[in-house]
Amino acid sequence: MKKTNLKFEEAMQKLETIVSNLENENIGLDEALKLFEEGKILSDFCKETLDKAKKKIEIIKMNDKNSFNLEDFK
């Protein structure tokens, strides 16, 4: 499936536009299919982006002024 280069928020906005366009009953089939396809890509992308982030809690350990480590926080 094609990918999108949009940011999450832009994708969400576009998704909303697509839905409101599809709500127009006079829309041509051609355009509808195009929008549908795009909408699928966008919603999958949005979900994926949300799902990708897993719970991760880390704490910064400063070594000196210029370097630090990330350690798991318990």
């Binding site: 969400m12 599809l22 709500e23 089939l29 699928k40």
Partner: protein, 449 residues
Amino acid sequence: MNKKVQNFKNENKNYQFNFNFIDSENLDNLNNLDKNQSQTTSKNLLDRNARHIYKVSEINSIIKETLEKDFLSIWIEGEISNSKLNFSGHFYFTLKDNLGQIKAVMFNSLYSYLKFIPKDGMEVIVKGSLSCFIKGGTYQINVLYMEPKGKGALLIAFEELKKRLEKEGLFDKTHKKPIPNFVNKIGVVTSPTGAAIKDILTVLDRRFSNLHIIIYPSKVQGEDAKFEIKKGIEFFNSWAEKVDVILVGRGGGSIEDLWAFNEEMVARAIYNSKIPIISCVGHEIDYLISDFVADLRAPTPSAAAEMLIKEKQELLNNIDYLSNSINNLMDNILKINFLKYDRLNFFNIIKLFDKFFNNLCQNFDYFSSEFFENFDTIFNKKIVDYEIKINKLLSLDPKKILALGYSVIKDKNGNFAEAKDLLIGEEIEVCTKNYILFCRLISKEKIYK
């Protein structure tokens, strides 16, 4: 003057002595009281032939009158003990030092505006007026104002800084950055062992876990706290791995404990942050400087976490809703469009099928079973009718169909046109393999029913 009067006066002097911290205005009052009292008393004594016997209520009411008139506005310092907040919100307590005590009350209407919570053992300075109860022979101070002892300076500093920064525009709404709807990475500047981080993580566990939290460990009270909080904010701003939002906060505590969040250094670090900041210090009632400067103020660290996490859950719901809408709408559009095709239209059917099957393959599960049933009944017949031709053409793309000698008719605006919709005399475009023919429709004849 007889001895009794002398005693009364002496007592009065002792009384005055006990209140030796009364300001000069009250001292004058007291001197006047002294004079007045002796005069009235002497007069009474003369009238009653030297031996005057007061009724208890009588002497109490004289005392009441005197106290209330002459101690209208006094300052007292002492330690709170035996405090009790009654059900209607009035705060009763005893003010004491190591030699004495006085009952005190602060009524709800004033108590509720206090910027701190007075507790037993706390040293305070109060301003108020004395009142006396004739029935019980007791007196108390009605407290009009109270400040923690030694904290006056802090509060003054707070007000001064607040005014100055406000004037400078640090609290301006126009400078506030919106908190992003979509938060993936959260930077937290707080103590790793404090209540704030525990609260935030508890909320995460309970509600939604797909987040990346990075803690910048910092002291949140004491002299070093302001430096470390500032460093934490600057760290997240300079870090290549951008966080979406920064939480700066700690659990609740006394005003001194929270003081770092009232420091100008911290306020400026918040103001200069490119990343939106939520100030979340566990102190639901009071506002700190950090609350005014931050892009958003949460009353507690848990509340901040809930704000962010709720947004994310809402987003997920929203995506689901939009995605379902798209599927349902497309379902409908396909149904409507298939119904329109009541006669052979190779180009459109092929195009449609091409896309439809492609989508079907990709998004099989998004179409309802109901749709397939309808699809079967409505179109099976037609599909059988044209099966051979369609199968033959299905393997071809639209250009190849044109190459076979078919053509596509569009109206003058370039939209696909159906013959039934075209009017005699209308300008049309006929698209063939290599040419577009611009034509005018001379006549039309219906050949299929």
